[in-house]
């Protein structure tokens, strides 16, 4: 017997586009950990990340009937999450309300710190230490797979600025990760 939990993303997206809330729920439970983690890397605040994913999913539910390629629903929703997150980042610049940001939580107990840190931990630290404008562009490019033009439109900066900041971010990451190359 088949169940929706076994269904591929594209089928769930097609059903959700037809108004099947149950299929949408299965899709959301499958990928929400990724979307929330992505928003958390961008926004560095758990409550902001959750609000942002919620907004993105409500928008996705409304726009699903217009989605051209339902098989790519995960990437499509990732892009909506990034748009909602960059809206927040841009509005923060005006309110300057960046005091209570949490660094992504990670268990750094004594035993853990003594163990050789994994490559992913090292990369996570390097990304967290990038200037926000570079980190945002890195994540939109490398995790959401957006083009320079798409990133430029989200952030309201010229595509040339995106290209330059991404190159600086790459230089920093490569320098600081040289032990792992």
């Amino acid at each position: 017997m088949s169940s929706l939990e076994q269904a591929p993303d594209g089928l769930l997206a097609r059903r959700a586009a037809d108004g099947d809330g149950v299929a949408f729920g299965v899709l959301v439970r499958r990928h929400a950990p990724f979307w929330r983690a992505f928003a958390l890397r961008l926004l560095r605040s758990g409550s902001d990340a959750e609000d942002c994913v919620q907004e993105a999913l409500i928008a996705a539910w409304e726009q699903l009937p217009k989605l051209q390629d339902p098989d790519k629903v995960r990437g499509w929703i990732t892009t909506i999450v990034s748009r909602k997150a960059t809206d927040r980042i841009r509005s923060r610049r005006f309110t300057d309300d960046i005091d209570d940001l949490e660094v992504p939580a990670r268990d750094m107990g004594p035993e853990r710190a003594a163990v050789q840190r994994s490559q992913l931990d090292a990369l996570g630290d390097v990304l967290a230490a990038l200037p926000e404008e570079q980190r945002t562009i890195w994540l939109l490019r490398e995790v959401a797979g957006e083009s320079y033009d798409e990133i430029a439109a989200h952030l309201g900066v010229p595509a040339d600025t995106v290209r330059g900041r991404l190159a600086r971010a790459r230089k920093t990451v490569i320098d600081r990760m040289k032990d792992w190359r």
């Binding site: 088949s2 076994q6 499958r30 929400a32 959750e50 409500i58 990304l127 890195w138 190159a167």
Partner: protein, 181 residues
Amino acid sequence: MNDDIGGSGYSLDDLSAYLDRGRTPAIAAIDRNPECQALLDAMTRFGALSHELVDRDGAEQPPSPGWLDGLLDTVAQEVRAGRDLPYTEGLVVTEGAVRTLVREAGDAVPGALVGSTRIREEGELTRIEIEISVLGDRPLVAVGDQVRGAVADALRRHTPLGDAAIDVTVVDVHLSDGAER
């Protein structure tokens, strides 16, 4: 490091933009230069690792079930009923209700999952187009026929569309673990 990588005449900024253009049109001075290649490989690898990092974040710090439930409740309030279809005089049945009935009837057939459904009016005739995915080890034609039969039966019992033409198309084969084939 930034100005002239390995005597290629290209800077790290150039390499970064080249990578994002999909390395086309090909630049021989970059493609034949070992230092350029090492940097491009590093950029590609750390980009891919960023995606992995967010996947791991999501697996290690999953969203709380309460947040997910609340989110899906919020989305569920935005129901899409679809247009009204004429029933007997003074009574209508919504397209959304018919689609739900079609999905439930089709899903009840062992090995079948209903994807998208379309309801078309062709003059006097109503045509219902159903896309299905079939579990890997099941006979496609037999499952398709069973879905058609189950849907026809449900429509006859519960809607004014008992005479509708029903087209079933097998568009996918799914495996038991949710992967596509």
